[in-house]
Each structure stands twice: as structure tokens, then as C-alpha cells.
Point group: C2
Chain length 202, copies 2
């Protein structure tokens, strides 16, 4: 019997034990790459070892950072949704960026809600709770960016607009026809903008 070692690959760095801050760095990097991979492929389609590999580690050390994959999922959701830009944002510009082909074509770097909301339904209660908290703050964020209308109508418009934005990106990503997909984005953008006109605000 002949054993051939075709290629062992270069033995990269061999630091076995890392400093305390490097461990925190690693944990953060795991959450970062996990959020990208999850947005890109969905929760189930990403394996633990794929996440660790993308973070520059091997699968074994994973359970030193997280109790389970479900735990990672829940923490990842909290991680991505925690960065809410609270400040006053220009809604028109945000709409244009959100409902754009560039956003549609880059789920990994795009809105976590558009990429993950539909998948949350099949995840653990902790994950759903994290997503709910994120959605709540997102709705309030959109409401703040709306033009001056009554508080009642403001919340309604925020929820309706947000639903349309998320729905349009999801539909655009599902459509296998660039022209139609572009149209869904553009028409939804124009439709939402029309409701922002002072003329249609009662």
C-alpha cells in the first residue's frame, strides 16, 4: 500500500493560544462573517465549519465561543441589528439606495431584515426575539425620517413603507429576469415616494 501525500498545504501560522483581546477579536470576526454568510446563503445552508473557516479558524474552537449553532444564529441577529443609525437620515436617499440593483445583488452586505426576516420563522425563539427588537427600532427609525405628518399617520406610513421596501427587495431577489426585477425596485420606490408627497398627506 502506498500512501501519497499530494499536498499538505503550507502550515500557516501556528499560534495555539491567543491573548484575551485576540479572543474577543475572533468572536467578533465570527459574528461578522456569520452575518455575511447567513445573509448570503440563509441560516441552514451555512455550516459551523464554513463560518469558522471564513473567520480563519477551524470548527473545533467554535463551542468555546457559542453554545450551539442556534446560539450563534441568535447572537448574530442581535449583532447585525444593533448598529441602527438612529440619526436623522434622508429618506429619499435611503429609498434610492435600498431599492437599487446594487443592494439587491449584494445580500451579504445588505439589509439583514431583507435577507433574514423570512428565515427567522424557522429559527429558535431567542432568534425571533432578537429580530423583533430589531424590527421595532427599524420602524421607529423610519418613522423619524418621515416628513411632518400626524403621529398616527406617521407610524402607519413607516410600517407600510418598510413593509414595501423589504417586500420589494425580497421579490426582486426572487425574480429571474433583470428587467422585471429592476422594475419591481423602481416602481416600488416611486410608489412610496408618491405617498410622501405633501399633496397626498392628508
Amino acid at each position: 500500500m502506498m500512501i501519497m501525500i499530494v499536498s499538505m498545504g503550507p502550515v500557516e501560522k501556528f499560534e495555539m493560544k491567543v491573548s484575551r483581546e485576540r479572543m474577543a477579536e475572533n468572536r467578533d470576526r465570527i459574528l461578522d462573517v456569520a452575518s455575511r454568510l447567513f445573509r448570503e446563503k440563509g441560516f441552514d445552508a451555512v455550516s459551523v465549519s464554513e463560518v469558522m473557516k471564513a473567520a480563519g479558524l477551524t470548527h473545533g474552537g467554535f463551542y468555546g465561543h457559542f453554545g450551539s449553532k442556534d446560539d450563534l444564529v441568535a447572537e448574530t441577529i442581535g449583532h447585525v441589528l444593533s448598529r441602527s443609525d438612529g440619526g436623522g437620515l434622508d429618506l429619499r436617499a435611503y429609498l434610492a439606495d435600498y431599492l437599487a440593483p446594487r443592494h439587491r445583488d449584494n445580500p451579504a452586505a445588505g439589509c439583514p431584515t431583507a435577507g433574514l426576516a423570512a428565515d427567522i420563522r424557522h429559527q429558535t425563539p431567542a432568534a425571533r426575539a432578537a429580530m423583533t427588537a430589531g424590527l421595532r427600532s427599524q420602524i421607529e427609525c423610519v418613522a423619524k425620517a418621515l416628513p411632518d405628518i400626524k403621529a398616527e399617520d406617521r407610524r402607519r406610513a413607516a410600517i407600510g413603507s418598510w413593509a414595501a421596501m423589504v417586500g420589494a427587495v425580497i421579490l426582486a431577489r426572487a425574480i429571474d429576469d433583470r428587467a422585471l426585477s429592476d422594475e419591481v425596485l423602481e416602481q416600488t420606490r416611486a410608489w412610496i415616494e408618491a405617498t410622501l408627497d405633501p399633496a397626498s398627506a392628508k
Copy 2:
């Protein structure tokens, strides 16, 4: 070592070979239960043997009906989306049914677009093509049900409304708080209805 057979279960019917029409029945039943299971749990979370068991068969016979699981996915999408109610439907009533807790809580029997659109992104090109065809006809269906406005605005309103409807159901299903989830449905419904008012139609 003691081997206990607690329950072998009754040997049900033992019909090995089925007639030609019963085979067509079986195939249809497979597509039906698959569409329900897929809507309920997502494509990846449903196994071939789970589908077959729900159809009253065992996993082995599956490949006599379909070439692969991906094939089943694509055919299932075409199967559910083929039943488009073309006739004139009452948009208000449809809105009320669609954006209702009952619909949100029954994905298995609900709108395939709301249940599967986000998942399509990770499926095979054939599946995406089937979904695109379905979405195209759905948009036209909504457009026909819209009140009398210019053709240009009609298409815009159809796409915007449809995106908002799908998005709202997806968000409502992701939210782990009944009050907020209900609010998303209800506010989106009211928001869409407001745009249907002749007053706001330009």
C-alpha cells in the same frame, strides 16, 4: 440481551403496483403535500422522505416521479402558482384576507409567494424561473383589480401594493410579539387602502 418489539404497527394496505391513474393521483398528492410542507418549513427543512410519508408513500418511490429533490422543488412552485384566480376579485376583501392574522398563522395553506419567495434565491434556476412566471401573473392580477386609473399608475400601484403585502406578511411572521405583528398587518392594510382612494390617485 432482550429484544422487545413494543409495536410493529399494523401492516396497512399492501398494494404494490398501482394503476396508471392512481400513479397520477400519487404524483399530484406528492406535489400538494410538498407545497404545504415547503410553505410551512422551507425547502431545505423538508426531507424527501417526509414528503413521501405525508403523501402516504415511502421514500424509495420518489425517484420514479421526480429526478431529484431540486426537480420536485421546481415542479412544486409551478404547481402552486398555476392556480391563479384570473377573474376580477375585490381588492379590499383580498387585502383584508391577506393581511390578516389567520393568513399569517397558516403559512402552509397561505400565499406561496409570502412563504417561499425569499427561499427561491437559494434554489435552482428552474425554480427561479417558475417563481418569476408566477410573480409576473400575480402582478398583472393585482393590476386588473385596481380601481380605474391610468395604465402607468396602475402598474406602479400593483407592484407597490404587492410588495407591501408580501413584505408585511413576512415581517409579521418574523415578529415574536402578537401586538406588534398584528399592527404591522393592520397598518399596512390601512396604508395600502389609503393609496386606493380616488382622492390620492392623481
